[in-house]
């Protein structure tokens, strides 16, 4: 176990490179990716994004995550002090693992996108029985 560090706020990073045709900033969501024998699990922090406004796409081994926020929340509010900006989220990953696209599942819970990426049958690790001669 790693010792629990003090939790600090990181500056949001804007998406570099590809430019969107829509005006407004896109941010890179923080992610955790874990590997299990039969699947990969991914979590992405996308605060302000509801389950209706998130898109998960896997095409040609590229996983694309997009989340859109709705600025309506801020109607009639005037800022006096701000520490972060709001924006849509975008991130892409090239997957090395052989993922079974038909079985991908995604859930959105409290602003966290959870994606389950099951490995294809032949990509799962197999224990090989060693027999005595």
């Amino acid at each position: 176990m790693m010792p629990e560090q003090e939790i600090v706020t990181k500056e949001k990073q804007q998406v570099q490179g590809t430019e969107s045709t829509r005006p407004g900033r896109y941010y890179v969501p923080d992610v955790d990716i874990c590997e299990y024998p039969d699947k990969l699990m991914l979590w992405a922090d996308m605060p302000g994004v509801s389950e209706k406004n998130v898109e998960v796409m896997l095409k040609d081994s590229t996983l694309t995550l997009t989340g859109t926020v709705s600025p309506e929340t801020y109607n009639n509010l005037s800022p006096v002090y701000t520490e972060y900006n709001v924006g849509n989220y975008f991130r892409q990953f090239a997957l090395n693992e052989d993922i079974d696209e038909s079985r991908i599942q995604a859930r959105m819970r409290n602003g966290v996108l959870e994606v389950e990426l099951p490995k294809r049958e032949h990509a799962k690790p197999r224990k090989i029985e060693v027999r005595t001669a």
């Binding site: 560090q5 706020t9 829509r22 955790d32 979590w43 605060p47 109607n75 005037s78 006096v80």
Partner: protein, 147 residues
């Protein structure tokens, strides 16, 4: 201070307008936060509307029952804990998300009515509304014609 108004027919330029408005007040030096400033978790944005102060904070992936908000005088404290979802993973490819216990106190410039404060946690965003005390609200003053 401009009030943000959005044209309901154009949500795309609305986001840009909002981003520019938020940018103008980023770490506003004229605003004294008190003990914990920028960098403390969770990040906060402070707004004003006609009723009072609105604090919005991005704290994704929180169990709402683990979120405690308390207010005393002009100070509001947000306390909670973010816990990891994964268990028994065989390996990690990325570990970027922050986890742990946090507590942040924010000092507000006005006298607010903590007893009337409301908090909402939706899509990982906490919205805390604290109305002004009755005496601080703007009042319409009737002008009487001299008889």
């Amino acid at each position: 201070m401009a009030l943000i108004r959005f044209d309901a027919f154009d949500p795309l330029s609305n986001l840009l307008a909002l981003q520019q408005e938020l940018e103008r007040f980023i770490r506003n030096p004229a605003f004294n936060l008190g003990p914990s400033g920028y960098g403390a978790y969770p990040p906060i944005n402070i707004f004003e509307d006609r009723e009072g102060t609105v604090i919005i904070s991005e704290i994704p992936g929180l169990d709402p029952s683990k979120l405690e908000i308390s207010g005393a005088g002009r100070t509001v404290t947000i306390h909670g804990e973010r816990k990891r979802e994964e268990v028994n993973a065989t390996g990690y490819h990325r570990r970027e998300r922050p986890f742990g216990e946090f507590s942040r106190s924010i000092q507000l410039p006005n006298d607010l009515d903590m007893a009337q404060a409301t908090a909402k946690y939706e899509n990982g965003v906490l919205t805390l509304k604290i109305p002004k005390v009755e005496a601080a609200r703007p009042r319409q003053i009737t002008v009487n014609a001299a008889s």
